[in-house]
């Protein structure tokens, strides 16, 4: 198994006719994902990489039974695209878009959740269950099927972590980037819950960064609820306070959200924390060797 996406995922691409949408549609198909439909207003009847395009998500879902969607819609329409997919009954919605206004996410996420949708992102690289399905923009070749679950607030730092795991012979069940924004669809705790329940995930590598308190919440969850070994890394140990470090959510505000606080909370919970980003893979190996 794996979490949230697998060989039964039937993917829809929103804004499939845009430059990024086209590029990643081709890449995801090459990586083995079953893409059944695309949407783009005014482009009904076209095909992208052999995938049929509809004007609306509702039509595309009605015609193809798509059960997951990936959003490449520019930021001003990000929340609109999310709501369109959720109202069409899509179960898993991955919002790749960076730069969606915070209040748009504040307002749209509860609606999407009430409609039963699982949302990943925004501002994320997506989700991949190696050997089964990729809904995202990550380089697929670095992955290897296996039993380590990977969760991260970052994009390229996740690739770095996955690359280290694969080189150590530690394959992955599912890897996902939850997004670098302050308000996201699936915080660490949701993903940890899913990994704990997934029989094919044996251990979890979690990559956090400065800002907010999601890592502290995750640490408490790991201590209280998880039986599987967990390793972690926190980016931004040298980040200055008050500055937004690229991600909208990566900011130390009012002395809160420092890497030091997060690392302390994670260690307190018995999690193996890598000091250096070069040691994320070995930290996971160490956590697996010592067991929970």
């Amino acid at each position: 198994m794996s979490i949230w996406c697998d060989e039964n995922t039937r993917l829809l691409v929103q804004n499939i006719t845009g430059r990024t949408g086209r590029f990643h549609t081709a890449a995801m198909i090459a990586d083995g994902t079953k893409i059944v439909a695309g949407s783009a207003p005014g482009k009904a009847g076209q095909q992208v990489e052999g995938v049929p395009v509809w004007n609306t998500v509702a039509e595309a879902v009605a015609e193809t039974d798509a059960n997951a969607s990936i959003i490449f819609v520019p930021a001003p329409g990000g929340a609109d695209a999310l709501l369109e997919a959720a109202h069409a009954g899509v179960e898993l919605i991955v919002v790749i878009t960076e730069g969606v206004p915070t209040l748009d996410m504040v307002r749209s996420l509860p609606v999407a959740r009430d409609l039963g949708a699982r949302v990943i992102g925004p501002n994320c690289p997506g989700i991949v269950s190696p050997g089964k399905c990729k809904i995202g923009i990550m380089p697929y070749y670095i992955h290897q099927p296996g039993t380590v679950g990977v969760i991260s607030r970052s994009g390229t730092l996740t690739y770095e972590a996955v690359d280290q795991l694969t080189k150590l012979g530690l394959g992955q069940s599912t890897c996902l980037g939850i997004g670098g924004d302050p308000v996201i669809g699936s915080p660490f705790v949701d993903v940890l819950t899913a990994f704990e329940d997934d029989p094919d995930t044996s251990a979890v590598l979690m990559i956090g960064e400065i800002g907010g308190s999601a890592e502290e919440a995750a640490a408490a969850f790991v201590a209280d609820e998880m039986t599987k070994p967990v390793a972690a890394f926190i980016a931004g140990q040298t980040a200055p306070p008050g500055k937004r470090m690229g991600h909208a959510g990566a900011i130390i505000a009012g002395g809160k959200g420092t890497a030091a606080d997060k690392i302390a909370a994670l260690r307190e919970a018995g999690i193996v924390v890598a000091e250096s980003p070069a040691d994320m893979g070995t930290a996971m190996k160490q956590a697996i060797d010592q067991g929970k």
């Binding site: 990024t20 590029f23 930021a75 001003p76 969606v100 206004p101 915070t102 209040l103 748009d104 996410m105 504040v106 307002r107 996420l109 509860p110 690289p125 923009i137 990550m138 380089p139 991260s152 607030r153 970052s154 994009g155 390229t156 730092l157 996740t158 690739y159 770095e160 690359d163 670098g180 302050p182 308000v183 996201i184 960064e209 400065i210 800002g211 907010g212 308190s213 999601a214 919440a217 890394f233 980016a235 931004g236 140990q237 040298t238 980040a239 200055p240 008050g242 470090m245 690229g246 991600h247 909208a248 959510g249 990566a250 009012g254 002395g255 809160k256 000091e275 250096s276 980003p277 070069a278």
Partner: protein
């Protein structure tokens, strides 16, 4: 995006938030004219002159050139206001939030003097854990809220705005009566918070702080200070607010980065970094520090950077005289290593490469990228992974 107090107050006033009478001035003469108007309106000679910079602690801060002078002064009469403005404008104010270099004052805000009976705090902020906006209120006005949160968290009352319905008045009533306000003052405070919440929602604020919110001797409720940050991601909805950006408050290299769509932050060290992705960029800083070096900047060239953006990034880094070496750390996903290599080659041909360069490339089109760098004959050191790269650049710059 940060804006000045006088800008925040003008915006809030337009939403019906109660603000002291006054206005901004960029010269002593302007300040005197504004003060004359305020005095005519209020009948009181007491006016306040407040230095406008993007940092808190102005009252306790001191001018570098005038160490007895703080950034907020009460004076009598329009002529005195004009003279005080002249002492402040163009000078550097140092507060606990500016760092020792301080910030130059471009404008002052002239306001009526207020007869303060009580100081409260009202703020609005995103509660990240809940993904909702919270209104916070406290009786501990005039003190930094982080300090109150650490010392007496029970003194901060919170009301969470329903994300789907938006603000509704009972939230403010709970806070106003919770603070112990009564009668007309409680009603005025409720109206005040309602107007603030509407401004926050309609204009996509990311932070609003009224500290202090004052109750006057007459029982009126007024925003004595106002701090507002705007959500940069929502700029497209409010093109008029973009004009409030004060570029003189920002680092020139950071502005140049923004112009090119790069996320660049200037730091104090000597090793320039070029990385794709915010998380990897932060970790690259971390690993440089662990190897014994100090990063000169944070730079995320982004996912889909083109060769000209990479070249611009390279020029921004090399333009910094404190940079003694450069570490390029790329894990290509959408970003292709060949694009990165083309940008670096083009920029180094244009501006020259006078410091050591260590390059670590991995991911999409990595072989092509390495070949482009090798063929260009650049004097660079290749790294096999990020730890190796950090070690090498630190060695080369020591």
């Amino acid at each position: 995006m940060k804006i000045h107090e006088f800008q925040a107050k003008e915006i809030l006033r337009s939403f019906g938030v109660a603000i002291p009478k006054g206005g901004a001035a960029a010269t002593g003469a302007e300040a005197e004219a504004v003060a004359r108007g305020v005095i005519a309106e209020t009948g009181s000679e007491t006016v306040v002159v407040k230095a406008q910079i993007h940092a808190g602690g102005r009252g306790k801060g001191r001018f570098a050139s005038d160490p007895d002078l703080g950034g907020v002064q009460v004076v009598q009469g329009a002529a005195a206001a004009g003279q005080m403005a002249e002492r402040m404008i163009g000078e550097v104010l140092v507060t606990h939030q500016t760092g020792p270099e301080g910030k130059q004052v471009g404008r002052v805000l002239i306001e009526q003097g207020i007869d303060i009976a009580r100081e409260l705090y009202v703020g609005m902020v995103l509660d990240r854990a809940q993904g909702r906006v919270a209104i916070m209120a406290s009786t501990e006005g005039g003190t930094e809220i982080e300090e109150v949160a650490a010392r007496a968290p029970e003194k901060i009352l919170r009301a969470i705005i329903d994300p789907c319905f938006g603000y509704t008045p009972y939230l403010a009533r709970q806070l106003a009566y919770g603070l112990g306000l009564e009668g007309q003052t409680a009603k005025a405070a409720t109206a005040f918070m309602g107007a603030l919440a509407r401004a926050y929602q309609d204009l996509d604020f990311s932070l609003a702080e009224i500290n202090p919110l004052v109750i006057t001797a007459d029982g009126d409720v007024l925003a004595l200070d106002a701090k507002v940050n705007l959500d940069s991601n929502a700029e497209f909805r409010h093109p008029d607010l973009a004009a409030l950006r004060d570029e003189s408050e920002e680092d020139p290299s950071e502005l140049e980065g923004k112009k090119w769509g790069l996320s660049f932050i200037k730091l104090d060290g000597s090793i320039g970094c070029m990385v794709n992705g915010a998380g990897l960029a932060m970790s690259t800083m971390d690993i440089i520090k662990q190897a014994g070096g100090e990063p000169a900047n944070f730079l995320d060239v982004g996912g889909g950077a083109k060769a000209d953006q990479v070249a611009a990034a390279f020029k921004i880094i090399t333009a910094d005289p404190s940079v003694k070496g450069i570490f390029i750390n790329i894990f290509g996903g959408i970003m292709r290593c060949d694009t990165l290599a083309e940008g670096v080659v083009a920029a180094s041909r244009e501006v020259g490469l006078e410091v050591p360069l260590v390059v670590r490339l991995e991911g999409t089109k990595v072989e092509e990228g390495r070949r482009i760098l090798a063929d260009a004959g650049l004097d660079l050191v290749a790294a096999i992974d990020m730890a190796d790269g950090a070690r090498k650049i630190v060695e080369l710059t020591q």
